[in-house]
């Protein structure tokens, strides 16, 4: 209350967005942070307000999103007394925060808040939670604001080891079949230009993780696509044929590597990484180049000598052709009656000139969105990568629109995940943020259904959804809404949505039992990737 009473006085300076649920506030803060590169902020009251933040904080932690969460707390003399709406949010949030702190004395406020923002955005970014007891909120004192520029015990960026740079350069110069796999570290490090320079000068094919995509344009000739469970055929297969794997700002997540005992065993591995704890965590590497990729990449670019790698690059093209024939053709240019998720993405690409911010939720539509969305600019793919949080996209899209109001923001959501944070339609209505919301409705929790079909003999246990009338719900919030279920209506509906300068809701009824391929079955090797 005292906090909000002060906010009331600063309405013209500080925009506050009232989400309908605290989880929505965290995802909106994440969307804002991911699209802008700035720290997202959310505020919640003590007790249930604070615990409702936890999913978003855990999501931000695993996806390295800079965020500061401020929670209210009971007065300090009531701590530990089971007071009304008291919860040990410091204890609860410890494993999922980069740092957290409880303020019981108002004089700590300026220093702690400055430190919170510094920690959240520096080094490998992450969420910070600051819990403020009610007595500290009521107290006042004269303060001077000093920005935080360092914390004694905290080393955000490790020192660059010049020997490692030399060793990496030596490995690159010897390689005949090198492959780059880049992750979000390139974007978080604001190193897109340095990365592009390295790729172009070295002429090495480069593949991305779902959080790394958009660091260079989709149509870049050396961009060979996505690695991982539903990634592209070529980069997955060829991970086990390359002689040098250059991992840049990525963490060898299990969805990327599949079976570790059969992952790039034939290759030398170079890992460019800001977080020393990530080195040799999942994959033992030959050379670890610690540091900020913005600083380390130019050191590699300086020495690298381009080679044609003609046969090697042709291998990616050959695999692309196979994938196009077996998968992409039917996804993007279907001849059967039912609408595919892929063709919806194709229409969105067309209508937005390959330059929308795509915010996806979690499941089949997410994999389709990451596979087929085309990007021209960085920070354009926002999704819950590590935690896989259904319900992420609707509030994250709202935050993204606020972080980049000049950009087209399109949320791609399944019918399952949409209903996990559906109440944030209310926030979109109230703020009139021009978010375009696309629900790809297959009346199933589609990814789980796909696994049930492939690995559990089609026993669809609790994955079928009986859905409400989504268009009516959107209209209930006075949001322009449309439902499409025929191919001939799709293009015009997407055009109408993109042309709108207001929030817009589009439901597309897609094929119910379609599957996402390629697929590396859980626990299988990247070379066991299936096309059907």
């Amino acid at each position: 209350m005292p906090f909000y009473d002060e906010l009331y006085k600063f309405q013209d300076k500080l925009q506050h967005v009232l989400t309908r649920h605290e989880q929505g506030a965290t995802h909106a803060a994440q969307g804002y942070a991911r699209v802008s590169g700035k720290v997202g902020v959310c505020v919640a009251t003590s007790g249930p307000g604070a615990t409702n933040l936890i999913t978003g904080i855990a999501d931000a932690m695993i996806d390295s999103t800079p965020m500061v969460c401020i929670t209210g707390q009971v007065p300090s003399h009531l701590l530990g007394s089971d007071a009304f709406q008291e919860t040990d949010i410091i204890g609860i949030s410890t494993p999922v925060t980069k740092w957290n702190y409880q303020i019981t004395d108002v004089s700590e406020l300026p220093e702690v808040m400055a430190k919170a923002f510094y920690i959240a955005r520096s080094g490998r970014p992450g969420p910070v939670l600051i819990d403020i007891t009610k007595d500290a909120q009521f107290a006042s004192f004269d303060f001077e604001y000093t920005p935080c520029k360092s914390v004694r015990s905290y080393k955000p960026v490790p020192k660059i080891n010049t020997d490692a740079i030399e060793e990496a350069n030596a490995l690159i110069s010897k390689a005949k079949k090198p492959l780059i796999v880049w992750g979000q570290g390139v974007i978080l490090g604001k190193a897109e230009a340095e990365f592009k320079a390295f790729v172009e000068k070295s002429n090495i094919p480069a593949a991305w993780t779902i959080l790394g995509v958009s660091a260079i344009a989709t149509d870049h000739p050396l961009n060979v696509g996505m690695v991982g469970m539903h990634g592209n055929y070529g980069p997955n297969k060829l991970t086990n044929e390359c002689d040098l794997l250059i991992a840049i700002g990525m963490r060898f997540d299990d969805r990327v590597t599949g079976d570790l005992s059969d992952y790039a065993k034939q290759a030398k591995i170079i890992h460019l990484e800001i977080d020393p704890a990530e080195v040799n965590k999942n994959v033992a590497v030959d050379v670890a180049v610690l540091g900020d990729v913005k600083e380390t990449l130019p050191l590699l670019t300086k020495e690298v000598i381009a080679k044609p790698y003609s046969d090697w690059i042709a291998e990616f093209k050959r695999h692309d052709e196979i994938e196009f024939e077996k998968v992409i053709k039917d996804d993007l240019h279907p001849t059967k009656e039912g609408l595919t998720m892929g063709e919806v993405l194709k229409e969105i690409n067309r209508a937005s000139n390959d330059d929308a911010v795509i915010v996806s939720d979690v499941g089949q539509h997410q994999m389709i969105a990451c596979r087929y969305a085309r990007f021209s600019n960085s920070k354009s793919n926002i999704t819950s990568g590590g935690l896989g949080t259904m319900g992420f996209a609707l509030p994250a899209a709202l935050g993204a629109k606020m972080g980049a109001p000049e950009r087209e923001v399109v949320a791609i959501i399944g019918d399952g995940g949409f209903q996990m944070t559906i109440q944030e339609l209310g926030t979109i209505f109230q703020t009139q943020a021009a978010v375009k919301v696309v629900v790809l409705n297959n009346e199933f929790l589609g990814m789980v259904r796909q696994w049930q079909q492939l690995f559990f003999d089609k026993r669809y246990a609790s994955t079928e959804m009986t859905n409400p009338d989504f268009v009516k719900i959107a209209e209930g919030y006075s949001i322009d809404a449309k439902r499409v279920s025929k191919r001939e209506d799709l293009g015009a509906a997407v055009d109408e949505m993109i042309a709108s300068d207001k929030p817009y809701f589009l439901e597309v009824c897609v094929e119910k039992e379609a599957n996402v391929f390629p697929m590396i079955p859980s626990g299988a090797s990247v070379s066991d990737i299936r096309l059907s």
């Binding site: 410890t94 520029k149 704890a277």
Partner: protein, 179 residues
């Protein structure tokens, strides 16, 4: 192969850090054999000593995760051979057995234990040493009836220098140039 490792952590002295450190073990389903936290040789810097059974690959990763915590200054891991370590134990025994059982006096003398306090009802013996020594004294005293027994976690210092003071000076200097 799993082995006994002593993890030493120098940290800022702050509320909640014990939880932040212990949760790193809990999350990986690792049982901590012993943990102690105390002042260190540097003012306002705490030192944790944690003993675990792990493979070297696993202990390296754990130390990496610990060092990543904002308020951790530096973390190390060492084998028994690389450290000097001790544990302390206290044994509370009924006073009457001291007078009725002559043998108990020999046990105390031979074990090089100290008598901390004696009164009409009980006396307390303190023994500092290796685990097998405090266990031996426990086994020797148990037949006479132990009213209470408690043993501390391991405390240890390393044979090689840790150079934390130099590191802190470097960090402080760096911070000053940053500002």
């Amino acid at each position: 192969m799993e082995k006994k490792y002593t993890i030493s952590i120098y940290t800022e002295n702050s509320v909640g850090l014990l939880n932040r450190v212990s949760t790193i073990f809990q999350r990986r389903h690792i049982n901590i054999i012993s943990i102690t936290s105390s002042a260190s040789e540097i003012e306002n810097v705490s030192r944790f000593v944690i003993v675990v059974n792990l493979t070297e690959v696993a202990v390296k990763k754990i130390v990496g995760q610990i060092e990543k915590q904002i308020e951790v200054i530096k973390a190390f891991y060492h084998t028994d051979e690389e450290t000097i370590f001790q544990e302390s134990a206290l044994y509370k025994v009924a006073s009457k057995s001291l007078f009725e059982e002559r043998h108990i006096q020999n046990i105390i003398k031979n074990s090089h234990a100290n008598i901390v306090t004696v009164n009409t009802e009980f006396f307390v013996i303190e023994k500092t040493g290796f685990r097998h020594e405090t266990e031996q004294l426990y086994n020797d005293l148990a037949p006479y009836g132990l009213l209470q027994f408690v043993r501390s976690g391991r405390i240890s210092v390393t044979k090689s220098p840790m150079n934390i003071k130099a590191l802190l000076t470097e960090l402080n200097d760096k911070n000053q140039t940053d500002e």
